[in-house]
Amino acid sequence: MERKIFFVFTSPSILVMTLLMALPLAMAIWLSMHFMTFTNVLAPQWVGLRNYIDVLEDAQFWQSFEFTIVYIAVVVPSWIVIGFIMALLLDQQSGIVRGFYLSIYLLPFIIVPIVGTIMFRQLFEPSGIIRWLYQEIFNQRFHYTEQSVKTLVLFHGVWYVTPFTLVVYFAGLQTLPQDLLEAAGIDGASRLQKIRYIVIPHVRSLTLFILLFSIMDSYRVFDSVYVLTELNPVYKAHTVMTYTFQTSMRLQRLGKANAMAVITVIGIMVVLIPNLYYSWKEQLAER
């Protein structure tokens, strides 16, 4: 394809991304150097780097940052391990049984995240069934505390994205090198050895890809934490995103919130840059 036609075909998309992604990003940086509330949106007041100093000195921001890291550290490995094991087990099934399980497993993932979290919360309401079970089994009352809310956020995170890794791994298992597996079988390799030496190397690139994307996605987790904390005003379990939301929508410190957004963008570079490098290599190899 000639370059001219390439430009003609991509121009609407490039236009949208320039006007509504690149430009807003530059604007976020510009706005982050202003004092701005909802009353002076169109006439913000220049304050230089003041907002950045504010954010970096804000203990609550660092707490929310810490919880975000904990969230990533707990949730991402769980997705990978549970998703992989369940994909292996599902691979043992065939035909209609497989399809049936697959549609049930996909439910938490396709549901509106806000709604999924509300459903999750219904289980722990004073009249919820899990809360009741908890009280019956452990013989102690379930309380909303900062700790239990954070635990719920983590549980929900695992519950809601595992289907995604499950399906990706499941698809990966369908392309296993059969001849290798047969040869290993003839040589008397046990099932665990086959998984260790054939299946896991086979899904290695898939795992890397899941890892990079799930770190980026869990870093910006918002909806579920919003439902479980923002609407439950006593106990806070903020992540970076919900804390930014609170700063902008509740406290109306839009400049400071923009500074937080810019700092989060810098934070994501830790994963984004290796990811870009990896994709760059991959793209060049393809051509």
């Binding site: 991509t10 991304m17 697959l102 549901i111 709604v115 219904q122 004073p126 990706v168 963008v265």
Partner: protein, 334 residues
């Protein structure tokens, strides 16, 4: 992998699979049960599994006043719905003018959605539902049209510019929404577009564009190159050969991408929450039911959650293959 052959092994696997299935659907089942209980039953400290079901929560949610003959109305609405869906399903067996049938079904749905408030005294939740449909359909149409052009060009162009564009899209996709949302708010107030559907649609198109072009590109890569070459030999230009030859071949992939766009637009919370004050879509509307001390919040939230989930489940039942295919194709890449 080869199958586990021992009986106990097979039983164990089934047990784990069933437990995982229960774990996946417990929140749905519980919420669905709560949504058909009276406020009293739903609030009971000892969970009630036996109760007399009621539709009053759904009535509270969707309607302002109870209609005089609910059974007859429900019957007619269901009949119209079944007819339209049936027509949609059988459209592929109707020879010739298939697009005409699809157009008619679309018009029928629009008519039905317009007609319901004339027959029933609908509450605001219905407006939010309509709003969500408009935003979702608008986003899909714009996003997929411009995404197809770009995805196709990226699949065929070998120059370095293509790589640069792809990587830029990847970088944009990784950034947290807040890097864009507050500037969107600024743009919205500068153009006096806050609380309008246009702004929500356009910004949703933008934030989904990186993902869309990556995914569509991967599907266009699978289309053999000779196809458009032979069309171009016949004298068609790029655009015509693209629309008439490539798009039909890549159609399943386009449906997959449209499905993901649907989920993204239907699910979006943060963007809509910041950019609208009254013109909410369902996720924002539902989040309003969950706070507060009013005991009705519990059952209303349950009914709203179920109401918002049913359309998605119906769509996924129809298109499950496309969804799994999209996930497997590395949909996620973008």
């Amino acid at each position: 992998m080869d199958r586990v052959t021992s009986l106990w092994g097979r039983i164990l696997i089934q047990i784990v699979l069933i437990l995982f299935a229960i774990y996946s659907i417990v929140p749905f089942t519980w919420t669905a049960l709560q949504s058909i209980k009276t406020v009293r039953d739903a609030g009971s400290r000892r969970p009630k599994l036996l109760f007399s079901p009621t539709m009053e929560n759904y009535e509270d949610l969707w309607l302002r006043s109870t209609p005089e003959n609910p059974e007859a109305l429900a019957f007619f609405l269901l009949l119209a719905l079944v007819l339209l869906v049936g027509l949609l399903l059988f459209a592929q067996y109707i020879p010739g003018r298939r697009s005409l049938v699809y157009g008619l079904v679309g018009l029928g749905f629009a008519g039905l959605l317009w007609g319901i408030p004339q027959l029933l005294d609908t509450d605001r939740f219905y407006d939010f539902f309509l709003n969500t449909l408009i935003v979702t359909v608008g986003t899909i149409v714009i996003s997929i049209s411009i995404g197809c052009l770009a995805g196709y060009a990226l699949a065929r162009y070998v120059g370095l510019l293509g790589v640069v564009l792809l990587l830029a899209a990847l970088a944009f996709r990784a950034l947290p929404r807040f890097a864009f949302v507050l500037p969107y708010y600024w743009i919205g107030s500068a153009l006096n577009l806050l609380d309008s559907r246009i702004l929500v649609i356009i910004t949703l198109v933008a934030v989904n564009q990186p993902f869309t072009i990556w995914m569509l590109r991967s599907f266009f890569m699978e289309v053999p190159k000779d196809l458009e070459e032979s069309a171009m030999v016949d004298g068609a230009n790029r655009l015509v050969s693209f629309l008439q030859v490539i798009v039909p071949v890549a159609w399943p992939g386009i449906i997959s991408t449209a499905l993901f766009t649907l989920l993204l637009a239907y699910n979006e919370f943060l963007l809509v929450r910041v950019l609208t004050q009254t013109n909410w879509t369902l996720p924002v509307a539902i989040s309003r039911f969950t706070g507060g001390e009013d005991p009705r919040h519990l059952t209303l939230a349950a009914a709203a959650s179920v109401s918002a989930t049913i359309p998605i489940i119906v769509v996924i039942l129809f298109f499950q293959k496309h969804l799994v295919k999209g996930l497997a194709a590395g949909a996620v890449k973008g």
